[in-house]
Subunit: 61 residues, 6 copies
């Protein structure tokens, strides 16, 4: 019953998300031996102004 | 100190969320033997265009 | 397609979790107008030694 | 800087996780246009006794 | 490879988030013995109308 | 009502977690203008064998 959550910056198109959900689901079904119907993929967009690496918000130039 | 997170599609009204928070908190207090004050319920709305099942975004018709 | 995650201290029995999952699911179905089949409830146990409030781990006496 | 979290039942081998991390990372890099180095995949195992669907813990027969 | 997620009400300025990311990262690096580069801090804003304590949404007066 | 979640590899002592919870809480209180009592810090340990970067589980040598 895999639940996959993908946190990433905004900016991907609906088509990219659709393609990514399809590819991740296929990988999960094939490798983790589950069904597609049981596999959820959720996208969570985190703005660069809310994501820091090395102590700096990543929207800083 | 239960922390309950509810991820669901957008579209519920404020009243529905208020009712749901109340019902979930009552269940947690009664069954898990904690206090209402210690129980948090957080709602996270995930658009159908960001939620895939069986490899398809759920806003597809 | 609600996904409910309950973080709490360890110590609840399997029966308490079963009762809580049932009660939360009923509340979600009734109030948020979805189906039971689409509703997932996941329990995540967090030891008191990993949960701090007011800057103190809650296993401190 | 994608962060992918996969919640699933226990029981997959280390090799399955390694293969899944590789496949998911390749899909993310190719489709979301990021680098492999920036892509994290985290596995979280949730026992069936902690995962309910339709109000029932999924370890019930 | 610490990943820190801070859920809080909206209303903090970009500067407050920048300061908080810096302070948290410094604490993680110093105390948990890791590198700043490996430390991520993500802010997630949860409206008071989506956060309940003691069974009441916290935007209630 | 900040809720801070720290995901990291296992291996930190109880004292390190206590110090980290204290330091993070102080930073949150000072910078985000909230109270210590309202601030929770939760530690989640993720084994290296469950955390992949660049498509490889990080317990690989």
């Amino acid at each position: 019953m895999p639940m996959v959550r993908v946190e990433m910056y905004p900016g991907r198109t609906r088509q990219q998300k659709a393609d990514l959900a399809k590819a991740i689901t296929e990988a999960v079904v094939k490798i983790a031996k589950t069904t597609a119907e049981a596999t959820h993929v959720v996208f969570v967009e985190v703005p660069k102004s809310d994501w820091a690496i090395a102590g700096k918000l990543t929207d800083e130039s």
